[in-house]
């Protein structure tokens, strides 16, 4: 049985399959998550988060990947996992980073295997380095986060 298996959101090796969603017009920065997760502006009557990606006979984990890193700037398993998390959680992460606490920071600390208080303090203190301007994208935020954490 042939199955189309989209890489899990957290799979260590990310396979950007040809079916991965194209980057939409909002790019990969703040606001890019806004319309993902629903198929149209007009809510579908019975579409309780249905997903056209699945044909018959296929079952697997559909990831929220948008394919932000088209130039391959992000390398390594952990960085890719962080990027994948950030491109799907940018809005909440930005808020948590600015105040130095929150669920997304705890999650990142888990992925990066660092102390969560240390991560929280560092991203708060270095907010301006991680978010240098208002249309920063998820790839830059990821790279900046690693820079700050490794500094």
């Amino acid at each position: 049985m042939k199955k189309l298996y989209l890489a899990s959101a957290l799979a260590v090796v990310m396979a950007f399959s040809s079916n991965a969603m194209a980057v939409d017009s909002t790019g990969c920065g703040l606001g890019s998550m806004a319309w993902r997760g629903q198929s149209g502006v007009v809510p579908q009557i019975l579409a309780v988060t249905t997903n056209g990606t699945f044909g018959n006979q296929t079952f697997g984990i559909s990831s929220g990947t948008s394919g932000c890193d088209q130039n391959g700037r992000v390398t390594g398993g952990t960085q890719r996992m962080v990027l994948n998390f950030l491109e799907n959680n940018m809005e909440q992460y930005a808020l948590d980073a600015s105040r130095g606490e929150g669920e997304t920071l705890d999650t990142l600390a888990g992925i990066m295997e660092v102390d969560k208080n240390e991560l929280a303090t560092k991203v708060h203190d270095n907010f301006a380095l991680i978010f240098p301007h208002d249309d920063v994208d998820a790839v830059e935020v990821t790279l900046n986060l690693f820079k700050v954490m490794n500094a």
Binding site: S39, I45, V48, T50, F59, G64, S98, R99, H124
Partner: protein, 595 residues
Amino acid sequence: MLVGLWSMPVEAGVEDNPQWLALGHYRPQLFGQIESTIDTPNFFLAEDGKVNPKSELEATIALFEENKDTDKICIFPARYKFLKAQGLVAQDFPKCEEFEEFKKDLHPAGVTLLFTDAYMNNPSSLFGHTLIRIDTSRKGTQLLAHGVNYGAFTAGQENAALFAILGLTGGFYGGFTVKPYYDIINTYNNIENRDIWEYSLDLSPEELDMFVAHLWEVGQTQTRYFFFTENCSYMLMEILDAVRPSLKLADDFPVQAIPLDTIKAVKSRKGLVKSVNYRPSRQSKIRYRFKQMNDKQKDAFYAAVLEQNWALEGLEDDEKADVLETAYQYVQYQYIAKDLDLKEYRKRSFKSLKARSKIDDVPHFAEHDEGKPPHEGHDSMRMVFGVGNRNGEAFQEIQYRPAYHSLTDDNFGFLRGAEINFLNTTLRHYDNRNKTVLQKLDLVGIKSLSPADLMFMPTSYTIMADIERVYNPENEKEGYAFNLKVGGGYTYALSDNVWIYSMNSLYASYGGFLPHNQWGGIGIAGGIYADFGKWRLLAEAEKVFATSHFAESMKYSAEAALTLTKNSALALNYKYQVNYGHNIDEFMTSLRFYF
């Protein structure tokens, strides 16, 4: 089929084992026969597998014992576990790459049942929704868990009426999708602004294994989707039964499966729910934060989000921090609501967070209140027993409503301001005439009162379809008319507990005995809605202009209810209608029971 070759004498009774029946989703049918809920043929190995658990059992054992068709074997890890435990298969389970990968991605650590609030902007979500979260053992938080959703595949169908018809009649197929939990949160909490309630289930490690294995099995299948019966919530009951057959959850829902009722059923099973957690919507969070602000903060908040004055003058650091965080969340809301374009949205988001990041450790607002757990709300069905008087004529009344909640029912655990009355049937006996009549049948009655303020501008609306006994003054006869009403308006909160609203409606009415058989009209209404927890009041005045004199009217109505216990209330109704040549003056006192 090689069934005959490999079938061994099956231990008597295994085909009747509750877990075997649950794994095959076999359910008793109307005339005592048995049939599986699953409709996809590939879920069955025996030709008559859908209706015959015994032949399906034999075929399954044969498949495993033959141990050749790995692709097929890999679809049924849960059946294998069951048969192995029963000592009915000896072979090892083969290495199934896709299934192993699925498990690896999930890192399962537990199962949580999720309930999401009603979403009044989508007719399919009026009753809320349930889905499953497979908790993760990954380091970090449950944001990395996965949500499992059972829903109708409706892709390509954009016609609302067609949706409704197909949805009710099984015209769609339902299936399972698995997504990261943060996607689920984003969809429900942030895009649709619906609260999420998380009910963590107490499953043993073996049960958890079984859950994931069985999810894999049903994940390959599709089932006709029926909006009221075989819906999102019902399927989850059957799956939980397959994991722990003694739960018998599906037995509770032979006719309709309202999402909230399935939550109550799960909550009622001893030792099944170990904890309940509240994850409020973005809008709930913004409102709760705003409530905690002092006046200076409120002014500064409005100056920032409405006038783009981000100076926040005269505030202490900790006061600023809370205003900035709330403003940021409001900007997110505005962007989703399409009140901001991307450029402006990013500018404002960035401005608020940059300022926020310059403030160090400060005490801050509580993120949310405790919430009102939906499983503690009144039950969905309602009976009303009333006595009253109509134009001097005494009557007794009985109402039966299969679902779900009206504005004067106790709102604890429900979305306040959201009324859904479905198939409410009213029978009345008049003493004078010694006659019992069907007074009214509410096919559907939906009312959504949602207060608008400087931050949020939701529209309020009403949709009603009913069959009502009406009086025709021209021939002095009573008869039935079919009424349709659709209206929209705005609600304004005078205080937390008292709302006022205005609503403009279109009416259409049809009935063989009406003059000209039909009439159309316009209604202009104003009302007040008070909810003080234990008692509620709804009062409305409406002027109706119609194409027929017969239907021109001025209507006044008031309804009040007092909660006695969780599942009972005392209610008073008053109605005064000035009609063409015929007024109605009606009073009723009643007891409401929910079950």
